[in-house]
Structures are given as structure tokens and as C-alpha cells.
């Protein structure tokens, strides 16, 4: 590797580190979106991610990590809005179902059954969403 190339890579790495470091959630890229895209993880009507059938340990641990972060966010919002954590989580699930579940990605209503979003058809709205 020439000296120029080494300098280039060093600069690129520094730039990338700066960008990653400023990300508020410290999540590498969009972890939740990537998990949904694997087809092994889906959105649940209770506001958390779930594993669809089975998934390798690294996927499961990422799902857990994200759910922990979600619960922390729900807890903060619940305290400031005088609502229960479950209500905040359920309200967020309504938005996630409407805007975050991509075509062919999995979601689960309170009946517990995993379904896939049919192309660009909107995901059914959970009954608690009003």
C-alpha cells in the first residue's frame, strides 16, 4: 500500500468514526431497519421487536438490545406524559406499523400470529390505535 493510500484510508476511518460517534443512539447504521430486513425479526403490536421463528444468537441479542433501548425511551416518555409504559409502547407500535414495516416484512398483531406485509398494502392497524 502506498503512503498516499494509507493516508487516504486513515482519513476515511477518522471521518467515519466522527460520524458514527455523533449518532445519538450509538446504533451502527439503522439497526432496527436492518433487523426487519433480515426476515427473521418483526414489529409487534406491543411496541417491541420480536424474533419470527428462530434466529442465530447474534440476531437475538441485537433484538434484545434494541428492545431495552426502546423500553428506556418509552419509560422516559411515559413519565413526562402521565401514561403507562405499555400505553406509550402501544402508541409507538401504531406508528411503527404504519411507517416502518417495509414490504414483505413481518409484523405481529395481539393475536400473536406473524404476518408479512403484502407488498405496499398498508399494515393492518391494531385495534388499540383508534
Amino acid at each position: 500500500m502506498t503512503r498516499k493510500m494509507k493516508l487516504f484510508f486513515a482519513g476515511a476511518a477518522l471521518g467515519l468514526a466522527t460520524v458514527a460517534g455523533t449518532s445519538a443512539a450509538y446504533a451502527f447504521q439503522d439497526a432496527a431497519a436492518e433487523l426487519r430486513a433480515t426476515g427473521q425479526v418483526g414489529e409487534q403490536a406491543d411496541g417491541y421487536l420480536g424474533v419470527v421463528n428462530s434466529a442465530p444468537a447474534n440476531i437475538r441479542s441485537q433484538v434484545e438490545s434494541i428492545n431495552i433501548q426502546r423500553r428506556a425511551a418509552y419509560t422516559r416518555l411515559a413519565q413526562s406524559r402521565n401514561a403507562t409504559i405499555e400505553e406509550v409502547a402501544a402508541a409507538t407500535a401504531c406508528e411503527l406499523f404504519a411507517h416502518r414495516v417495509g414490504p414483505g416484512q413481518y409484523y405481529r398483531l395481539p393475536d400473536g400470529v406473524w404476518r408479512q406485509r403484502n407488498g405496499n398494502e398498508p399494515v393492518p392497524r391494531p385495534s388499540h390505535c383508534g
Partner: protein, 71 residues
Amino acid sequence: MILSNKDERRLTIGGRTLAILCAAAGLSACVQVDTPDKPIEINLNINIRQEVVVRLQQDAQQLIQNNPGVF
């Protein structure tokens, strides 16, 4: 003889009667079996008030936008 549901219930020994009979007869191991009058409703969202969920819609949208990668 065709009995209506109401009539049938009057003729059978109800839960309270059974409990009294059990206690009176000194049967300590009696298990009280009550038939519910209403169908059993399974409600998984007992802690969720729908009006609260609707009220939180804006906050939920902001939550998603402010926490990229998590939602």
C-alpha cells in the same frame, strides 16, 4: 323436555349452594366449581386506554424520529 338456559341454571345446584352444602357437611376438601354467567373475554391490552394512545400519537412520532436505529 326442552329447558331454557335460565331454567336449567335454576334447577342445577349453583356455586353458592354447593359451597354452603360443602361447609355444612364438614367436607373440607370441597372444590367450588362455579359456572361463569358471562362468556370469558380475553383482553390482552388491559392496561391500555385507547384515548391515551390517541393522545400520544404525536409524541410517538417524535420518539421514532429522535431515535434513529432504535425504531
